[in-house]
């Protein structure tokens, strides 16, 4: 049974519908003479839907294509195939001008708060830039008023309006980034690991702020992170990615209680370790080997070389992402047979 929240939300018409999205990079290889390009499938056939006011968590190890997915949704990189339907309209293949108009409704928050702010612009200019872009004739007073309003909304003192990014802490910089993303009243915000670069104590503040704003403004969120602990409290549903593919899309409570995919189960088991260094070491506890290079992903199920349950079939046949009776999605041949329920220890 799916959680009540996602059950209610799924009845609404989705605002965002992603169908079979794939992004391929050309990787230059070889020396001066024998240079050739190889395709790297950073995102390979991702599909999902997002309702108004819903939060989708996207989780995966670095290099699994989650950041590329974020950029492809916004049209910052060109997908090779697939569709991104925003309110029923396909964003893929739109010309630059039309896409620019759509960007009013879809915004992004970046991982490194300081790097995402131009060091030579004041807070005012940073938050005002989207306004200048979309309303070139807007009066100066109005811009300033709006910027001050936004600063207050994200918990910054509006009288700091003339300061520069380097005069703020990491958490405050991220608030500036959030204010910039919200200033045009968007309907969807993609958060690309918005707290990974922050101190643990500040992470919670930023996540709470995002939750708060989401409720107030009826935002849809796509929340990307590299571990499950961070997305746990904010997501309605969670998509687990591995080597550019979706392994599982489940409602958050289900995912933490009874993962459907062996990879998810390994990630869930890794969550309770608070020390980040230890977490990194055990992020894939119980798994053999490292994540294979996305340049030549394994045949069959991409997870099979590391999967403790792999059978012959896994090496040959690609498991499709399919819907189980309880409403969650999984890409594993053995999903019905495996019981990966998490036993809470202690």
């Amino acid at each position: 049974m799916s959680g009540p929240a996602s059950g209610r939300r799924r009845k609404q018409r989705p605002v965002l519908k992603v169908q079979d999205l794939a992004v391929t990079y050309d990787i230059q290889q070889g020396g001066l003479l024998r240079r050739h390009t190889r395709p790297l499938n950073a995102v390979d056939g991702i599909s999902f839907e997002l309702a108004r006011g819903e939060t989708l968590g996207v989780v995966g190890e670095s290099g699994c294509g989650k950041s590329t997915l974020a950029r492809a949704l916004l049209g910052l990189v060109q997908p090779r195939r697939g569709r991104v339907l925003w309110l029923g309209e396909d964003l893929v293949g739109l010309d630059e001008k039309t896409l620019r108009k759509k960007r009013k409704e879809l915004q992004i928050i970046f991982q490194d708060p300081l790097a995402s702010l131009n060091p030579r612009m004041t807070v005012h200019d940073i938050i005002a830039e989207p306004l200048w872009t979309f309303y070139p004739k807007i009066a100066r007073v109005q811009v300033e008023e709006r910027v001050r309003g936004m600063m207050k909304m994200v918990g910054l003192l509006p009288n700091q309006i003339n300061r520069y990014p380097h005069e703020f802490s990491g958490g405050q910089c991220q608030r500036i980034g959030i204010a910039r993303a919200l200033v045009l009243n968007p309907r969807l915000i993609i958060c690309d690991e918005p707290v990974s670069a922050l101190d643990v104590s500040i992470q919670a503040q930023i996540i709470n702020l995002l939750k708060d704003l989401q409720r107030k403004l009826a935002l849809s969120l796509i929340f990307i992170a590299h571990d499950l602990a961070v997305v746990k409290h904010i997501s309605d549903r969670v998509m687990v990615m591995y080597l550019g593919r979706a392994m599982e899309v489940s409602s958050a409570p289900n995912l933490y209680r009874r993962p459907l995919h062996p990879y998810t189960s390994a990630l869930v088991k890794a969550v309770p370790i608070p020390d980040p260094a230890a977490r990194r070491r055990t992020a894939t506890s119980g798994l053999r080997g490292d994540m294979p290079s996305p340049l030549d992903p394994p045949a069959g199920c991409v997870f099979h070389p590391r999967c403790p349950y792999a059978v012959k079939r896994c090496e040959i046949e690609v498991p499709p992402l399919r819907r189980l009776p309880q409403g969650d999605w999984v890409a594993c041949h053995l999903a019905e047979e495996l019981d990966l329920t998490i036993v809470k220890s202690g």
Binding site: S116, R120, L156, Y164, S169, L184
Partner: protein, 313 residues
């Protein structure tokens, strides 16, 4: 960022206590300090750079004004005092050379030429290099590859050979020196600017601007150029002495400015020939030249430290 760095404001804002928040607001707008101001303050704290800048300022003033004030002309021959050592009595403070020309005025006039070459050639290389490098870096792809390959090819040509060829074909001429030096120096500038543009283009704040729908020309104007300026400034201050040195080298080889004009390089070259009989003809221009080179290098280093505060935190 440590949690202890959290200002009170942030904590209170999170806790939802509005009172201190409002109280802080009543204080009025806080003045920000831009990275430029920060850099300026750091530069002022750098004693070596400030001293160098002062010396350089005085040097430029003296070189520009000096020749007007001093009663001697640079090509006036004082037959009564040829090869005179420095003396206050006969009015030749720095002495005279073998044909009785005043070394002081010649050193100052030479300084005018040396500094002029330094500034003009640097500006030439700045203009070509910045636009070339920025275009290659911003557009990338094939444009970038073709443009930078061309730079590599020019870079591979032997510079001295190139200059000598120019001199032989067009004759010795001060404009030609500017052109020759500028034509070679812009290559470095172009490479540096291109690299910087490439990395700026990938910065998250540029991506953020693109995600907000900001147009290319505004991205270049607001995000790329202001962030290039620091590196360019540092490079300019380091290029000036380099150019002066190259000019001196050319003069020393006899390929530099022509008589009766002179430059520090040419004077050092002349002085070196009379080194044993009249050391002052060598020492004074050499000291001026060296001090100038040192000063520019100290200023450049100071600027680099001030503008690139990697180890500040």
């Amino acid at each position: 960022m440590k949690s202890s760095e959290l200002t009170g404001n942030e904590r209170e804002a999170v806790a939802g206590e509005i009172d201190p928040f409002e109280a802080a607001l009543r204080l009025g707008d806080v003045k920000g300090r831009s990275p430029w101001e920060d850099a300026w303050h750091r530069l002022l704290k750098n004693r070596a750079a400030v001293t160098a800048a002062i010396i350089m300022g005085v040097m430029i003033l003296v070189v520009v004004i000096g020749p007007w004030v001093i009663s001697w002309d640079m090509d006036y021959t004082d037959w009564d005092h040829t090869n005179s050592p420095p003396s206050l009595a006969n009015g030749h403070w720095f002495g005279t050379d073998a044909v009785g020309r005043d070394i002081l005025v010649r050193t100052l006039e030479g300084g005018r030429i040396s500094l002029l070459v330094g500034f003009v050639a640097t500006i030439v290389s700045l203009l070509i290099g910045v636009s070339y490098g920025a275009i290659a870096g911003y557009y990338g792809g094939v444009t970038d590859r073709v443009m930078m390959r061309l730079v590599d090819i020019i870079y591979a040509l032997p510079f001295m050979f190139f200059v000598i060829l120019l001199m032989v074909v067009f004759g010795r001429n001060i404009v030609l020196i500017f052109v020759a030096i500028g034509a070679v120096n812009w290559l470095d500038m172009a490479r540096i600017v291109r690299g910087q543009t490439l990395s700026l283009k990938r910065m998250e704040f540029v991506e953020a601007a693109r995600a907000c729908g900001v147009e290319n020309r505004d991205i270049i104007r607001r995000h790329i150029v202001p962030n290039l300026l620091g590196v360019v400034m540092v490079y300019v201050t380091l290029t000036i002495p380099q150019v002066i040195l190259v000019e001196s080298f050319l003069s020393f080889l006899g390929l530099g400015v022509q008589e009766p004009m002179s430059s520090w390089g040419a004077l050092v070259s002349d002085g070196a020939q009379d080194m044993e009989s009249a050391p002052w003809t060598l020492v004074f221009p050499a000291v001026f030249l060296t001090v100038t080179l040192y000063c520019f290098n100290y200023i450049g280093d100071g600027l680099r430290d001030a503008l690139d505060p990697k180890d500040r935190l």
